[in-house]
Symmetry: D2
Subunit: 430 residues, 4 copies
């Protein structure tokens, strides 16, 4: 995480202050549960809530001696709570606190990411309807193919992010579990009820079976999902970068007054936001492999996952949060140039209708192979000699379609007739 | 994919023969739908089913000229079908065939993988119940922690693979879509009904919106799921490898008569299957990054994903299929040594009960910090001087627990009292 | 590896036949060394060379019982050699054979890859000189920047591949070592001289210290190098794809007579080779992570690396070999369109000279900030209103440069004056 | 980067203050070179050195408007320098500053890492000699194999890190280049002499040919090297973790007074440092994939690499620096238990001599196959019935070696006789 690519709401989630507050709540809720079970005095549980406090700096100081962060935290809290503090953490192990805390942090982070996706989805939908019928080039292999509409392009990305939203909700369930099962997960010194109680208070599910830790396949699945979302983000970013290429210029990132595109070349207007997003996507994805390597912990746990998660937990969520908002902003403010879309569409003199001519010829009785040869032969002349496709076809004796019928084949409306159908599929029946 | 690590059923799925058969069915079903719509003659559609055939070698031969595999295939089929072949593939684009075929292959591959997981789950459950109450060491950081049961260990892995099964079903839905939407996904030359018809025939869902291709975030999510499963597989494999370490030897891979562990050292019995699975897990995971890089195709598509999928499609599914079966076999035949479990449990003279002593002391009125210091001080003597933990405690004047009560704390049953609860959570109410 | 993306010379290297032949030579050379030391009879060593043979199918058959490939091989060889076979493999361990064999395979594969790079370098150099002075657009962020020459573009890629060649030679040294040190690397049962002897015969260096295996950091460094080369390959492939975009069309992959670009759209000429190379680059890179995970073997070795290397050894080298040759072919046959380069250069009416105007204004006394503002203000009008940049500048009262001097700033030759210098740096003083 | 896993010296390298200082020096040196060429006044160049200054907060403030960091920096410097500031950055492009600065940062970071490796190498060498002849188990597959010495184990890791040191020096050369070639690398507005001059002042080499940026294959190779080093680090960390396992306990991380191993179990002494290093290794490796994806920038550059490098530049070097020092500390303070090594060596009653018995039998005339069968048959009884291997052999009629000769085969010294040879190979002739 670096400040340049972070937003305060998400960053705050990962502050030491926030983390220790969650730790405190886990411990205090657990005491309540134990008091309810009659294992510890109700007064003690209440005293913990009343007097419980901590200071980040003091915890750091204690940890330098004990080399154990949870013990340092408990010692600091005990300094405030006094005698009843001895009931804290009874029968629990550090991982009960750490893993449940991570679950809380990741679910909260996910809630922010879900809101980010909602903002992005709304922007995509709005712009998709805005350009629902704006004809532009469809390209495959970077080569002009056939007409589509700009709204369709955006609908595609909308659908991808709608899928990503569903995946992220799934991923949220993956990591929203609470484990308070003691040293090696046997509940030897703690009643399973405590786990259920704390889980409920924190909006989590009890982990059905834990070792010393919550199993890391959950986290691997979570970070893999972030990697998939990042990849969709890259896909949309690359689309914008392509559309903004000087020769294409069908769309452009908003360029604010006062902005400078280059220190050397004052004429520059660069798609720097989407290029940046392309890089950020690589970074979010880079969390996937370590998260997967974290799964194979030794026996009931080793702590190799911990340093990884201290990094990728904040890094991947903060970066993705920043990036999704940047991307939403790009979509919301995207400058779209329908005139240029039309200019590009016309660039090759109707070559984009080659398939329709091909089909016309087969319907007129030619074999597919022969029709293909006729159309390709004429098309190649357009590429090589900048000739007009329609004129070439008219002049070709093997083209057995009447001129008027031929001209009718060069019609963009033919290609956009199912836009409504697709929009209904994507956005529902509105 | 290499034969050494593959099973015939899965490999067959990816044969050229199987692939072209799926292509044929897609094309023929599409013709049926078009005939139903009155776009092509019913006779033609029937003729395609009746006379349609292909030869892999002939397709390869034609492709060498056309440099386009779908065209080569269609040409070869036309050689068999004759005149009605001109109705084949009308309004479709190659990707309609290729992507829908990949969806069929991946869903079939997934069905095999689901069956593999079922075999593994059954084996884990059976062995978990077999050793439900077999006490053994729980270890954290590779260091003796507290008693668990071997059944609990297996229940943990069962739960992980049950989650993996659910993830894989989810992943199956991700990739079970059919796109027959023409050149750039506009249905310009093909009615959306054809897509719906073919989808239904092949057990797929119509892709709500496609470009020229089915969006690759679906495949990224799919291969990421395989990567998570592979990681859980590594986790179990590493557990077996640890248990088989000579000094531990609590369990061992089955060693068949005639097997040789080493060309040089005849005494060797090595956990080669689980070591192999550890490596195979790395390979399955290696498909995740390229699958994610595949998402950001240019505009309506480029073909960079194709070579990747030609490799990771078969490689990841074949390898995982082989590996899951190997793993199931390891679990089914695992040699388990309860006597060694007990020996290891006793190795440190009761040190594994240190927490219970700690809690006993706090219940007897010591502060948590003081109690910790007392227990730790005695425990360190066990590590450093191989002394007996219980005797040391009895001799320590700060240990304010009666001898008899102290002895009672050294009881494995205390640690296993919630095994039933956990089993109910994992396996349900049986 | 799949046949579609492989060349016979490289594939042959990885055949079982070739592998067993190397195994045989290692064993036979080792016997020679032992005979020289008087440890085994010279007759025996000679008999092994004379009668030694093997059959792949028979080895497979034996392995099914022993589950150990080296033992199966030795047993099969013994069937041919008879009594003297008992001197084979004395004091050696399987890994001595396997790891030394892998070293031979990887060095041979590297020699092919080095030749591939030479072909590519030659093609790049030839085309670089061909277009040394062909002016074209330099672009940053996909936006027109300033003029370069097409030869300079190619010189950049030449330099990258020259670096890659040097890296690959370094990587070859990394893996060109021989270990014949016995069970756990102690030479307990084999004299270090045998290792030195065999190493020399096979063109390898003795491994200074091995465990049971050659240390895998060597292989990690090797595959990482292939990953870097693949990334440079992707870089050049992406350049070609961009240049071939319809709106750009400054260069194009060779399109052979009879080739079909699309089954649906006969007009298509797609950069399918470089798109394919983009995908293959992802695959070569996918070997890096597993190769790095292979380094941390347990104690003196575990066999988790083996399955990984059985796959990535052939896959990464075969794929890279195929890809480098495909890339060389693309460069050799690349269609280059200088007219289109000029057309694109002119597209923005001289905007690409904005920096020179900026510098002209600062030399004429404006502060950099003021000059920037003046130039940017005019440039934005070109973007937004398609005005002519030079005319705008002439009309701007704040532009304090005489018209004639202003016109002189719009000169491509100014930008290409150091092409000779750069070529000398890259290609040397020829 | 997180403070927990960072050291101040390395972190300081990446401070904004340090970065802008390098920017300033690049600009000021460039002015000196231009003054020398007579392009700008010598007074101006001197004034820049004399009055040049910047404030991080002010730069941030300006950047919020310009959205361009180099322009913001130059504006801030101009506020201090006054009029002569207009000569700053003439003919240069932002990347000239950014990329050259990154080269300086990475080379300085590398110098720290080289010193880290030296500390680690020294520790490994010292401890290797300390335990040069301390016999311990060699293990393959986690199973007892044959005796080695603990010094040999350490010598292996020494050799790996010596290779890593050489690789890192190579990697340093990869990234130690300076590009001051202007907008798209043509030197249109800047003389190549400036590049040469600045390069020399900063201890870099001029980049032979750059686009707008230094080619990213250099950085990919650099980060790949860090990934290889991290993998070797993981290898040594995993070795320590294995040796510290309770059942093995041949070595142990230093456990300081006051340290607490577990909040719940006071008896714990866990290998937390090496587990932590295992996780950190995963993080350093995670930089490799994005660094490789950074290579394929579009045309003369896009800025997608920038966000990646802002993160992995500091993260990977800071983490590796921290980790190498932690690892050196682990080695320096490692507690080694030769008595436990001997105990483990004796655990299987001499089974580790099985190969020597095998060879003894073949020398006594048995075929290798028959000898193997005899030894294996007896060895299996040791595993299964805990019998004594030597006694079993003595009692076996097929063992045709005299008892006394048999006993002589059970000799650890036989296995350590080449330790001196290996040490000479690894550490040289001292």
């Amino acid at each position: 995480m670096i400040p340049r690519y972070s937003r305060p709401e998400m960053t705050a989630l990962w502050d030491p202050e926030a983390k220790f507050r969650i730790w405190f709540e886990i411990e205090a809720h657990a005491c309540d549960a134990m008091a309810e079970l009659g294992i510890i005095p109700k007064d003690a549980a209440q005293a913990i809530w009343d007097k419980g406090a901590f200071e980040v700096a003091r915890i750091d100081e204690i940890e330098r001696e004990t080399k154990h962060d949870v013990i340092a935290f408990l010692t600091n809290v005990a300094e405030h709570v006094g005698e009843p503090a001895r009931f804290l953490h009874q029968g629990m192990t550090s991982s009960d606190v750490l893993d449940t805390c991570l679950a809380v942090q990741l679910t909260r982070a996910t809630d922010i990411l879900l809101a980010d996706l909602d903002r992005l989805l709304e922007a995509l939908k709005k712009r998709a309807y805005e350009f629902k019928h704006t004809v532009c080039l469809g390209r495959s292999h970077g080569i002009h193919a056939e007409p589509v509409t700009f709204g369709l392009k955006l609908a595609n990305h909308y659908a991808a992010f709608a899928r990503n939203r569903a995946r992220l909700e799934q991923a949220r369930q993956e990591i929203a579990t609470c484990a308070i099962s003691g040293a090696v997960g046997t509940f030897a010194n703690i009643d399973p009820y405590v786990e259920e109680y704390v889980a409920e208070k924190l909006g989590l599910q009890p982990e059905p079976v834990s070792t010393q830790v919550i199993p890391r396949d959950r986290h691997a699945a979570f970070f893999a999902t972030l990697g998939v979302i990042a990849s969709s983000m890259e896909n949309l970013a690359v689309e914008v970068r392509h559309l903004q290429r000087t020769e294409v210029r069908e769309a452009e990132e908003y360029f604010s007054p006062g902005q400078k595109g280059s220190s050397a070349m004052p004429h520059k207007r660069n798609p720097v936001l989407t290029e940046n997003l392309t890089g950020l996507a690589r970074m979010v994805r880079s969390a996937v492999a370590p998260a997967m390597e974290n799964v194979a912990l030794w026996h009931e746990r080793d702590i190799s996952h911990s340093s990884v998660e201290r990094m990728i937990g904040p890094d991947a969520t903060i970066t993705l949060d920043f990036a999704l908002n940047r991307l939403a902003g790009v979509v919301e403010q995207l400058l779209v140039y329908p005139d240029n879309m039309q200019r590009n569409l016309d660039q090759l003199g109707g070559l984009v209708y080659s398939q329709r001519v091909l089909l016309g010829l087969t319907q007129a009785g030619l074999s597919r192979e022969d029709a293909y040869a006729v159309v390709q032969r004429n098309a190649m002349k357009v590429w090589e000699e900048q000739r007009d496709f329609l004129e070439l076809l008219k002049a070709d004796p093997e083209v057995t379609i009447a001129e008027k019928d031929l001209e009718a084949l060069f019609d963009p409306a033919y290609h956009t007739k199912h836009v409504d159908t697709v929009f209904r599929r994507v956005f529902g029946e509105d």
